[in-house]
Symmetry: C2
Subunit: 216 residues, 2 copies
């Protein structure tokens, strides 16, 4: 059985996994999941992933793995995309955690609200979230100011994870002009062998109340 | 040089690292960091950890590692506390991420507010946070209802990470009585060789405005 990926097109978390699979040139079956059509709210989906999030990777033997960072680790083990060195491995895991605690909620959460019209740019909540996203971008910029990639001297799943939402920061109404090192790093990611672009952002059905997103 | 741990006594994130070091019987030098005394706000501390959080592990050669989950991975590599199998390794990383996105903010964040008097039990924000923490406890309970430990059949850093704040859930005003599997698991953790108890919770100086905590 090939790998199966339960995948929502508008999700940066899903894109990360598609991107790594492309780098690895690994075949897989994509199962499109319509979050806003309620497809993660069924009992069947809860058996696949009790947290009801996307992506989920299905392996041989009916084993399922949720959480994008965990899927990246699984696929990258014993490849150049995950370091063996304990200090570098730990550094990658630290960035995978920061991506989910800060990058995704602040940049991804704001992008979702802007693209679906839940917030307008001048809304106080949008301003507050832009300030938080700016802090995240500043932290990433500071780290990249003396490095080409997030960990060690090469492209790893730490870069893939952080690229997932930072490359669409402009869709959140964020201006990347002041973040020179970050912009140079985005270009470096896009030059990696096997790089593929993201799918389309949220479709017409991503309307308020039509379902529950990871950002709610 | 022995390992050095920059450590705040009231932090569950720091306790996780102390607990693993005790299991591993690894000597280290503890550097007490007083968050509320402003000791993470200095320029010197920003050089150690730009995110200004605790814990931070200092290694030989002036290398620093922040983020409790990352430190656990570093210390547990090539020990029984971190699985080699890629599926189990990925499962551990998934729980380390969930612990930081959900367990720590909801249970740890509520505990901090209750212990320092920032919230009273009947405050609407306390009620909202208790509901969120209850969802987290239910998810953990569901997972443990058919397993002794979070990943595979043995105690790993996934258990250590989740134990960090769940063992003090009562200090957040949460009632663990309905969570039978979780309570049995807490006892199993406490029977592991080398187990040590947590240090005291927030000291008298953990007063509003005295500094910035990870929960603010």
């Amino acid at each position: 059985m090939p790998l199966r990926l339960y995948d929502y097109a508008g999700s940066g978390n899903c894109y990360k996994v598609r991107l790594l699979l492309a780098h690895l040139n690994r075949p897989y079956q994509r199962i499109a999941i319509d979050i806003f059509g309620g497809e993660t709210l069924t009992d069947e989906y809860a058996r696949i992933n009790p947290l009801r999030s996307t992506p989920v990777l299905e392996l041989a033997g009916g084993r399922y793995l949720g959480e994008s960072g965990a899927i990246l680790v699984y696929l990258a083990t014993d490849t150049p995309y995950l370091p063996d060195d304990p200090f570098e491995l730990a550094g990658v895991i630290g960035w995978l955690i920061y991506e989910q605690t800060d990058v995704m909620p602040l940049i991804g959460g704001l992008r979702f609200r802007m693209l679906t019209g839940r917030l307008s740019p001048s809304d106080p909540d949008a301003i507050r979230r832009r300030d938080g996203a700016h802090d995240v971008l500043s932290h990433l910029e500071g780290h990249l100011s003396t490095r080409d990639f997030f960990v060690g001297d090469r492209y790893t799943i730490a870069d893939i994870a952080i690229y997932g939402y930072t490359h669409v920061a402009h869709e959140a109404g964020l201006d990347l002009a002041p973040f020179e090192s970050l912009r140079a790093w985005l270009r470096r990611v896009e030059l990696q062998p096997g790089y593929i672009e993201d799918l389309e952002p949220y479709g017409d059905n991503a309307t308020p109340g039509a379902g529950r997103s990871i950002y709610d």
